[in-house]
Point group: C2
């Protein structure tokens, strides 16, 4: 293995004491402005050195004409120049002794053959100088624990004010800028962040490096990844097998390879074959593979919020008969079983129904709501199934409509959640009214109950928790 | 075929001149109160006869002690009594000469064997009297074109004020109350309603009857169904093959049979086999099968909003490289192709990028947004691909974040939409901010552009439009 590769060599990407922004700009909206604005907005306490030959001050900071004029060697350099200027600048970083560089400039391997050639040169410069390079075409990193943010989007008052970034337990590693851009507010509010790193073209730092880093990072408890390729399969799988004993790893692997979406025009057959290899390898390593960004958020949120179930028997408490059926379908599809309720549980449930009702599993609550009201129905039945030893996990389905106060509903479940810490409880809240749903979702999540709009999303996430537990058990 | 069965025999369920509510109640929240409240809220102009032996007035209407005391034979009777009283009441309807009855009472075949026996008797009474019966366990019907609503949920100020129900072109037929309850506001605002009918246990009126009715109903242009079983397969398929020439039929068929979710506990194998039979039969008839309620809304909305594409070549205009890849994956999965752009199109697109950029398909717009801004980027590129003869449909992916004004974005696409009426355009707007997304969604829909949160949802819907067109072509 390359001797430069170590967890320690990646520290400057997440906790640098000083950072140079090469290509710093006075123009709001330019990447070289945004990065400094973001760092200041986060409250980053290290030194920031704007590098720009045509400016003396940028965002109230003294600017320097080039890297060699900097008063010290920065822990990290961030390059946001036009592609033609990147190699020269990287050489200057090497000369100055900079050990870590994020190249956020674009126009390299993702673009054309000459870009790919330039990348090979970047790699050579990095190796010769003993530098770690993330990118090119990286959108940067975020670490709320050190108030560090090297990402380039114009984010203050745009995507998310930087002081609002929430310290959480999920590390996001991806070949995409979506984690620090469009999806950031959603990741932030729904999941919370331990680290975000956008790999870009993986000229040097790759997904294995960052997986190892997050594996060793104390705040990170769950690792979520978006990958278009895996640079070193054996290393990645070896690391994954080790890390997974402590932290679940959830991967969205798109089916196309390094040439990006273009491959899907012409090479579908080959890709489908390769994809099956990924599938098998991931499964053997215990990696949880998901099929879309939305499933990546769903499953990650479930791991962050709650605990894997001890078995596969699911009790479903459901608003409508048809939804009992579709939820049961989804359980079967994802390898879970509908729980058979104990006689004692049935007796407890009967108390909220009219005399003539027959209790079944899944439990259809419509008639009970009419007879006993929403609160008594859901609290009584949910508690009964949480208490049942024949039940390993509970999914309670309700609607999110005007007639429910989205803010107060989660509170009905606080005690139940607290009393059965080892049994996961999921909520599905079908949105008639989105504002009601969003309030419910936040409230439930705050007490450790993941909440979804679609039964299948909840069930797929629960099944992922279950598979993780099964993997750990089988690997014991 | 049963001689009672005719499209005309179903008219009273949707356009009765008079209706008796048997089991009418003075207690707000009870089904027998809600039905009258809903009818009044809709502005229904026919006669309403509350039937209740213990009341003289209900909701300002004169009440009658029983059916035989009614001053006329109502076109429709709605029964909302406890299960034990239903048979007697049905007999009284038969004696009075009522030709159509909705039994909204529950506690029959969906409950237990004795309930199933009672259903057999309902069927016999109906046949002998030449009555059509919808239900039991039906949640009623809605027809905004006659301001008629027999549904039992407490809907005024709860799910949706009845005068807000929007006349649309989609007919919903289902073995579920979700269409008139939880999901009603969503169906109403996103799709619009021509008819809604909740079949219940299908003692007499079944999905084929209602399919035939909607097939002959002028306002209905698209038919959406949720089915747990098909009563008469050959009849259903024969009708579908005929109706599909004029109106697409979209079906969510859950995998379990009449015994509901319980079957999934024990009979998974058998069901999976039967499910494949449904799959093949539906495909041969040109029915579009979907896998979830959400997909039912997504696909129905696409048919209501826009037009089927002439071919399978899709141009994707996309915010992020990773999202280009996942969208291309989804196109391949759903049998669509990524369009190869003509040289002229590439030239038009180049104008919004820096000199060094290479145009590819899918089209990654991040660098263009930085160089030319959001509006110029999306308008120029979307127009270019809409003009391209190598392109049959366009999917434009963007984010829904604070920095976009959700209300004004759709307006940028109005002209493009108008100039190319035969080429479907879909928007995917990935929500960082839900309130921005919801504004965009409504705005886009109003101009004939369906808008989704997930690329896969848009692509699955587009693929459904495409399959419909292919079916019509092959059947010509």
């Amino acid at each position: 293995m390359d001797s430069r590769r170590s967890v320690k060599s990646l520290e400057p990407f997440f906790r640098p004491a000083s950072v140079a922004v090469i290509g710093a700009s006075r123009v709001p909206g330019k990447a070289g402005y945004n990065i400094i604005e973001n760092l200041q907005g986060m409250g980053y306490r290290g030194k920031i050195y704007p590098v720009n030959p045509h400016a003396s001050k940028i965002l109230k900071l003294a600017a320097y004409p080039d890297v060699k004029s900097l008063p010290e060697t920065p822990d990290l350099a961030i390059i946001v120049l036009p592609p033609a200027q990147v190699l020269k600048s990287l050489g200057e970083c090497a000369a100055k002794g900079v050990k870590a560089v994020v190249i956020e400039a674009v126009g390299f391997g993702e673009m054309d053959a000459s870009g790919a050639k330039a990348e090979a040169r970047i790699k050579k410069i990095a190796e010769r100088a003993g530098m770690r390079v993330m990118g090119p075409n990286s959108v940067g990193t975020i670490n709320p624990y050190t108030s560090f943010d090297s990402s380039l989007g114009r984010l203050k008052k745009v995507f998310l004010p930087r002081d609002k970034i929430r310290r959480g337990t999920a590390g996001f590693i991806g070949q995409t800028g979506l984690f620090t851009g469009v999806y950031l507010p959603l990741i932030n509010s729904e999941i919370g962040i331990s680290k975000i790193a956008c790999l870009g073209n993986k000229c040097d730092v790759d997904e294995s490096d960052l997986l190892e880093y997050c594996g060793a990072d104390p705040p990170t408890k769950v690792i979520a990844m978006y990958l278009e390729s895996v640079t070193d399969g054996p290393r990645f799988l070896k690391l994954a097998r080790r890390i997974i004993r402590k932290k679940p790893i959830i991967v969205l692997k798109s089916a196309v390879t390094s040439s990006g979406a273009k491959a899907s025009e012409t090479h579908t057959g080959a890709i489908a074959g390769e994809d099956r290899v990924y599938d098998a390898a991931f499964r053997q390593a215990g990696i949880i593979r998901v099929g879309s960004f939305e499933e990546l958020w769903d499953v990650t949120r479930a791991f962050v919020c709650t605990t894997p179930p001890r078995g596969s028997r699911v009790a479903i408490v459901n608003l409508a008969g048809s939804s009992c059926v579709t939820a049961a379908d989804a359980c079967v599809k994802y390898g879970l079983q509908i729980a058979r309720l104990s006689p004692a549980t049935r007796e407890k449930i009967k108390t909220v129904y009219p005399e003539w009702w027959q209790v079944r599993s899944p439990i259809d609550v419509w008639v009970s709501i009419e007879a006993s009201g929403f609160e008594k129905t859901y609290v009584t039945i949910t508690r009964a199934v949480m208490e049942d030893k024949n039940v390993d996990a509970v999914i309670a389905v309700m609607g999110a409509n005007n007639w429910l106060d989205g803010k107060s509903v989660p509170g009905l479940f606080t005690d139940i959640r607290r009393e059965f810490p080892l049994k996961p409880l999921f909520i599905v809240s079908m949105p008639g009214d989105w504002s009601v749903y969003l309030k419910m979702q936040r409230g439930f999540q705050n007490i450790g109950i993941p909440c979804y709009t679609r039964d299948e999303d909840a069930i797929a996430s629960l099944a992922a928790l279950r598979r993780y537990r099964q993997y750990l058990n089988s690997a014991d």
